[in-house]
Each structure stands twice: as C-alpha cells, then as structure tokens.
Amino acid sequence: MEQGASTISQGLISQALISQAVISQASISQGSISQALIPQGLVSRGLIAAWALVAVAFVALAVVLYVALRNRARPIDVAKAAQAFRSIDIDAFRNLVDADEEAFLRANLSPQKFREIQRQRSWAAFLYAWEAGGAATALARIGQAAQRSPDPQVAASGAQVAENAFLLRLQTIRACLQLLTAVVLPDLQGRSIPPLVDQYQRSAETLFRLGRFSSAGDPELVRPKSA
C-alpha cells in the first residue's frame, strides 16, 4: 500500500516534473519565438536598405562605365555639330516660346483646346532646346580644343567660345526643365525662357573671331589630351 502510494506519488511527481518541463519548454520556445521575431523585423528593414543601396551602386557603376566608354569613343565632329546648328529654325523656336503668342492662344481658345495646343508647343520647343544643348556641347569641346592653341589669340577666343558654350548649355538645361513642366502643366503661367538666342549670338561672335584668327595663319588647333 505504501509502495502503491509511493508509486502513485512518484508518478504524480514525475507527471508534475514533466508538465513543468513542458511549461518551461513552452516558455523557452515562446521566448525564442519572440526573440526571433524582433531581430527578424530589424533584419528585413536593414535588408531592404542594403539591397536598395546595392541597386543604386550598380546603376551608378553602369552610368560611370557608359559615360567613360562614350567619352573615349567620341571624336570631335565639327561638321556634325554645324549640321545640328543648321537644323534649328530660330524663328520657329522664338515663336514657340513667345509669351504674347501664348497669351493670344489663351484668350482665343477654349481651355481644353489651349491645353492641347500648349502641350504640343512646349514639346516642340523642348526638342529645339535639347538640340541646341547638343550643339552647345559640341561648341564647348571645340572651344576647349582651341584653348590649347600655341597662338594666344586663338587660345583666348577658344576660351571665350568654351565659356559661352557652357553658359548656353546650362541655359538649355534650365529651359528644358521649364518646358517639360509646361508639357505636364500647360495651364501654368510659365516664366520666360532663358535668353538662349542672345547666348547663341555671343557664341557665334567669339567663334567667328576664332575662325578668323585660325584662317589668318595659324596652321592648326591642337586637340587636348582628352581621355
């Protein structure tokens, strides 16, 4: 009987021990689950940032390599740049960005028609400005090439050409941004487009001087040691 009682009590004790063990196991597993959940949340946030940075780095690497390869393979093509200048119809461009013209259209067309026409005008003007920017880049490269001429006059004119071309390029970038805004929001009363034509005029004058000096007797303009 005593043995039986002891057996039962042993059994109860062992049951109690087992249940305690189960409880402690459960609490451990709960703890481990909660422990695992907290860093997992942090890891996923960190992982998103890490992979985003990896993506940014790869895009940047691709751009760097592309620009580097293009820079190497691109000779200075004067005839092509001249062709780019020729292709721009300055009167048409003036008309497209003319504020009076815009006011006239706004007054005489229905709002819907005005938006449609204005979008088309802005887009066409954007294409003109983009082309002008490309021509300005070519002009800058020619100016920089001339800047290294042994003739001080040619070098000075080259410096002026390059300086004007840089200004022109920045103005075309600004104009492109303004015109793109006008394409998206045609109703917006835009500010005047930067004085691109005046800048062209200055560039042309300096380039003409450069050409005159060059024709007068300078044998050749030395190209820079570009990459």
Binding site: V56, V63, R70, A79, R169, A204
Partner: protein
C-alpha cells in the same frame, strides 16, 4: 583543405599585388613629377602602400584576437576615406580648371550634391545600423557606407557634368576618376551588404569582391599613368581651318533674322 589553401593564396595574391603595382605607380608619379599636379593622389597612393605594410605586419604577427589589426584597420580606413575626398576634389579642380564660370558654379553644384547625400548617409546609419554588435565597428561600417555613398554621388556627378557640358578630361585625371568611380560603386554595394550579412562565408566573399575591384582600379590607374606618357607625343589636329569656316557659316545662317 585544398579549397581553404586556394582561398588563402587568392586572398594573399589580391592583397599583395595591388600594393606592388601601387609602388610602381608611385615611382612613375615621382619620375614624371606628377605629384605637382596631383599631390593628393600621390599622398593617397603612398598612404595605401604604408597602410598595407602596417596591416600586413600586424597580420603576420597575429596578436591575440587580432585587436591591434582591427584598430589599425579602422584608423587607416578613416584616413583613406579623407584622402579619397581630397583626390575627388583634386580631379574636379582639374576638370573645371579652364573655365572661370565652372570653377564657381560646377563646384558649388558638387557641394550641393555632397550636402544632399550626407544626410541620407546619416539617416541610413540610424535607420539601418546593421547587425554588428561591437559599437565602434558598427560606427566604422556606417561611416564607410556613408562615405562610399557620397563619393559615388560626387564621381557620378563629375562624369555626368563632363558629358552634359562637353568638358574635356585630362588623360590621367580621367583614369583616376574612373578608378575611383568603380571603387566607390563596388564599395557602396559591399559595405551595404556587409552590414547585413555578417557570416564568415559572406564576409570572405565580399572581401574577395572588394579586393578584386581594388586590383582592377589600380591597373586602371597604372595604365593611364603609363599611357599618358606614351601617347602624349603626337597631338591630333582639330579643327582644320575649312571646318571652322563651315562652323562660322552655319552659325551665321542660324542667327540670321
């Protein structure tokens, strides 16, 4: 066992070779007196070699737990980051050297880019500090990641500006910038992954990636250092007089009202 040996040999090769090549580059810079034009780059090359000698010695001595090595690595890394910014400033000055207008406006633009990217780096350090439990290593890692991001942005801006404005690079400045650009991009990706993947295998893989990239960049610098000497002799002619006349006519036609 063989795999482990191969790994060790590869790591040793990728660790030693770039610095031997950098020593050659330093000799070329010294011989051609290029340190007058590129003092920061010269200082960077010398510091990289000195760092290698220091770290390699500490590594061979194998101090307990490698703490000396880790501390030395952290301090030299900070110095290398500072020198890298100096080199980027140097190449940007070379790029804008011929234009009074760009000297001011383009450099201001670069300062704006750095000013925009710096807070992003700080936010990232706070938002995603990584899994490193040792605080100073986590700090160094965050600084490295932020610096790589700013450098990446600056070098990308330099390349894009040169492309959009039609700026002509000097050969060596271009080579230096290209090398730094590749290094900064890979460094950014590796440092971002390093903060999250802290296992030994991931660490080894990322180390191999950054060391290989570093070797490629050193080869680019050396190539441009040697090539600029070899190719400087016959300058090509541009533009011939008749082409300038074509330009003038085109511009006059363009401007006629």
């Amino acid at each position: 066992m063989l795999g482990a040996n191969w790994h060790n040999v590869l790591v040793l090769f990728l660790w030693v070779t770039p610095h031997v090549l950098l020593a050659v580059a330093a000799a070329v810079i010294w011989n051609r007196r290029l340190y007058r034009e590129y003092p920061c780059f010269f200082a960077y090359v010398l510091f990289r070699i000195a760092t290698f000698i220091l770290l390699f010695t500490l590594y061979c001595m194998e101090s307990e737990k490698g703490l000396d090595y880790k501390h030395a690595f952290a301090v030299t890394l900070l110095c290398i980051i500072a020198l890298s910014f100096g080199v980027i400033d140097e190449v940007s000055r070379h790029l804008f050297r011929e234009s009074r207008f760009l000297k001011v406006s383009a450099r201001r633009l670069l300062q704006c880019v750095a000013g925009l990217l710096l807070p992003v780096g700080v936010v990232l350090a706070v938002y995603a500090p990584g899994n490193n439990t040792i605080w100073w290593q986590a700090c160094i890692s965050a600084i490295n990641r932020g610096a790589a991001m700013v450098q990446c942005g600056l070098l990308l801006s330099l390349f894009l500006l040169s492309r959009f404005l039609g700026l002509s690079w000097r050969r060596l400045a271009f080579g230096i910038t290209l090398g730094f650009g590749i290094l900064a991009c890979v460094d950014l990706a590796a440092s971002a992954l390093r903060t999250e993947f802290t296992s030994n295998a991931a660490r080894d893989l990322l180390n191999l990636l950054t060391m290989s990239t570093y070797l490629v960049c050193v080869l680019i610098w050396l190539r441009y250092l040697v090539a600029s000497e070899a190719e400087a002799a016959p300058p090509p002619v541009l533009p011939p007089n008749n082409e300038v006349e074509i330009w003038n006519k085109a511009l006059q036609q363009f401007l006629k009202d």
